[in-house]
């Protein structure tokens, strides 16, 4: 073992005690890398994390290929919610369970047939399957409308309209945002209107309105924070009002 330098000031800062989670270790190693002036430590550790994650996918694929149900169960647990989320966003909430099942089946069968050539790219493979499923469903809808005289009731168009209760709640929150906008200067209001309503990019807005990126981000985050603040105040006020109303209406006091 190499003898350490006799000058302890030349030694790098000691590593903290081993931590349980990989995330905490990553944060700790980032700090360690900065303190020891090693620019490569962070990139190196990130690579280490990525290879650990890839190893996880490879192991999962191996277990599925071996035919054990635990592998398929793990695959389902990891991806089911994400697939549901993606399909719901693109196709609506109708018949989701069937679509998730179909996607899951395609993934498992492809893995078992050895079609997944890079097991470490399992996430990308699942994403591709799900995107194709969305595309196929949309194409089927278009085809049905084009070719069939009668409506195919098994292929439904999702109803994305809000119910009256959701509309009322949305309006209430829009009013809060309007209060936030009202508190801003005309220029700041224009910046946010350009970004959110006219969907202009940050780069375009900053260039045309002579803003730095930092100024732009600060304005956005201040507006968001103010909205959150107003929302909490409103909720607290309503809770208090309700409590007072309940106490006086029931006639009970403690």
């Amino acid at each position: 073992m190499e003898k350490p330098s006799s000058d302890y000031r030349a030694w790098p800062a000691p590593m903290p005690e081993p931590l349980e989670s990989s995330e905490a270790q990553y944060a700790s190693r980032q700090e360690y890398g900065r303190k020891s002036g090693s620019a490569g430590a962070d990139a190196e550790f990130r690579e280490e994390l990525e290879s650990e994650e890839y190893a996880g996918w490879v192991e999962l694929v191996r277990r599925i290929q071996a035919g054990g149900t635990d592998g398929m169960q793990d695959l389902y647990e990891v991806f089911a919610k994400g697939i549901r989320y993606y399909l719901c966003r693109h196709l609506g909430a109708q018949e989701l369970d069937d679509k998730i099942h179909d996607a899951f089946l395609v993934v498992v069968q492809a893995i078992q047939r050895g079609e997944l050539r890079e097991p470490e790219r399992l996430m990308g493979f699942v994403r591709t399957i799900v995107r194709r499923q969305v595309a196929a469903h949309v194409e089927k809808l278009v085809q049905n409308r084009r070719d069939q005289i009668e409506l195919d009731y098994s292929v439904r168009v999702p109803d994305s309209r809000e119910n009256p209760e959701e509309s009322a709640m949305f309006k209430e929150r829009v009013d809060l945002i309007k209060r936030v906008l009202n508190e801003l200067s005309k220029r700041d209001r224009e910046i946010l209107t350009r970004f959110y309503l006219r969907e202009q990019s940050q780069a375009q807005i900053c260039a045309e309105m002579s803003l730095t990126e930092t100024q732009f981000r600060l304005l956005k985050s201040r507006a968001k924070a103010r909205f959150g603040e107003l929302g909490k105040k409103k909720l607290a006020m309503k809770t208090l009002q309700n409590t007072v109303f309940l106490r006086t209406s029931t006639g009970s006091f403690h």
Binding site: E23, Y26, D74, Y86, R127, Y196, F227, L240, R247
Partner: protein, 193 residues
């Protein structure tokens, strides 16, 4: 169980995705992350919700005159009213009695009438009105923003599923979700007032 070791995407990435502005490589990377990260799914929902609110507000703001934004009463009047309410609330505020359950029947048909209503800060006895197979279920109460505020593992006996939310819920709109081993089974609207 596999752990997610990738960094979570920034707010700029979330906004970029919501606006459909991500380049192909970023889109691929983000969507792959989204497949396995519930935290980012929720964050994306919140980002899109905020963008919708901002759009609606900015649109209305542009269309309406500034005078319509003034408060109907003088500010000092509103401040006095708020102070009176706060004072009364602080004076009379007590925890609600926790020993009496408020029964709430959960029905999953669509429409305004099927949203259950319950009082805030009371112990709630949630009963699923539809028969379920005997077995183990997980019940979650989720805010409109997708944040889980209450969860419990329970057993359905004789086809009935009932849970008791002892902590009570604050005012607002919630979803009550019932999961079995295969995933989400039922979802019910709950309005707490």
């Amino acid at each position: 169980m596999l752990k997610l070791l990738q960094a979570h995407p920034s707010e700029e990435i979330l906004e970029g995705y919501a606006f459909g502005r991500l380049d192909a490589a970023s889109l691929e990377s983000f969507e792959e992350h989204l497949l396995i990260c519930e935290e980012c799914q929720s964050a994306l929902d919140q980002t899109e919700d905020y963008i919708r609110l901002m759009k609606a507000a900015a649109r209305e703001f542009e269309e309406r005159a500034p005078e319509s934004w003034r408060w109907p009463w003088p500010r000092w009047g509103a401040a006095v009213a708020a102070a009176v309410v706060c004072f009364a609330g602080l004076f009379y505020l007590r925890p609600a009695p926790a020993n009496i359950d408020v029964p709430v029947a959960l029905v999953s048909t669509r429409g305004e009438a099927s949203v259950a209503h319950a009082p805030a800060h009371r112990v709630l006895g949630l009963d699923v009105a539809e028969p379920l197979a005997a077995g183990s279920y997980r019940v979650e109460v989720v805010t409109e923003a997708g944040r889980v505020v209450w969860t419990r593992q329970t057993e359905a006996g004789s086809g009935k599923l009932s849970v008791r939310v002892r902590e009570g819920l604050g005012r607002g709109a919630y979803w009550v979700r019932v999961y079995d081993a295969s995933g989400l089974l039922r979802e019910f609207g709950l309005r707490v007032e």
